[in-house]
Symmetry: C2
């Protein structure tokens, strides 16, 4: 179960979805599920599910099906959701507000501890019980509070310099909503991109006729 | 160039990124680039780039490098960006507002023609020159205007019923920001998901230590 570092990116990308589906099963009171049933609900094959779970040591019990609560908890543990990491968010536009207000950080392994914007008019506004601070005090804040992760809701132009500033301050992961490719110039940090435009172009391709 | 239907999902996912990078090169005045140089800028290998481009017939000129403008245009054409498809957006919360206001639909092969919300207090508000309409008139609007794509910025609970309503009205693609898995129950339509929570959990896994 611990030797999970060599797992392929594709299997890792599926883990959150398993976690989400199992959570929904739990909420609807389903206690046990076979890989065949789980596969049907998720649009996968049973053998793919078994193969994925084998990467993490199996979670066993084939004949009887999986114990939903236990599997949910184990996948959550593999993802690290049971150990909160500190996060800050930069950029309080519509997107930054949507992310701050609606993302369930605590359930996803994070604690949002700071929100920053360069617009002084926003200073002191309270979002999710956190006062918006000016980016000018971000250095000091990070040295005191050591966030592991930064959420970038800022334009592409500002993203790279801000990322570089934060990497020097110990930030080692980025949830990146800007269209800057931070990972190319900084392979030493973890980056999870949400590139809206790339996603929309992919959809445009898919509906070609 | 036309036989692009059998291309793997992974290559397709990289096309928007190529398009984005080539656009940036164009804007900085770079006219010609070798696969080696392009690879270095994108964090890929030259052979991967050549392999990807071969899926679409090559784009040739190896010794001399690629013509940036021509390659940008051809990839745009493969993606379908030169032929606009009509899109509507449903759900005018912070996220819906951010998407409506900031996404460059016209450059990405779409024309945003309608915005809907079930909250009557928002009726008539103008966003991006489009009046917000009540979801109660969505049927009528779709029968008249035939949007190909719907952008779902609504909670998970409403996403599936709304998607089903829209599929009956001829919508065949979804840009899905809700955490509902539309593609599982409706394999006949194209779905591009932006699942924030899955993305954040993936980041949590990556920064495990």
């Amino acid at each position: 179960m611990e030797n999970s570092r060599q797992i392929s990116e594709l299997v890792i990308k599926r883990l959150p979805r398993y976690y989400r589906f199992l959570g929904e099963l739990l909420r609807t009171g389903i206690k046990r599920i076979s890989s065949r049933e789980l596969a049907a609900r998720m649009g996968l094959t049973a053998s793919q599910i078994r193969q994925d779970f084998n990467c993490f040591g199996g979670f066993g019990q084939q004949g009887y099906g999986y114990n939903v609560a236990q599997l949910h908890e184990e996948i959550g543990h593999i993802l690290g959701l049971d150990k909160k990491q500190k996060a800050i968010l930069i950029g309080v536009g519509n997107l930054g507000r949507a992310i701050s207000n609606h993302v369930k950080f605590e359930q996803l392994g994070f604690q949002l501890i700071g929100i920053f914007d360069r617009n002084e008019a926003l200073n002191g506004e309270i979002i999710r019980n956190i006062p918006v601070r000016n980016t000018s005090v971000m250095d000091e804040f990070c040295r005191e509070n050591l966030p592991a992760v930064a959420i970038l809701c800022i334009p592409k132009e500002s993203a790279l310099p801000i990322a570089e500033q934060l990497i020097k301050l110990g930030v080692r992961g980025f949830w990146n909503f800007s269209h800057a490719d931070i990972a190319v110039s900084h392979p030493e940090v973890s980056v999870e991109n949400v590139h809206f435009h790339d996603s929309l172009m992919t959809l445009r391709y898919k509906i070609n006729d």
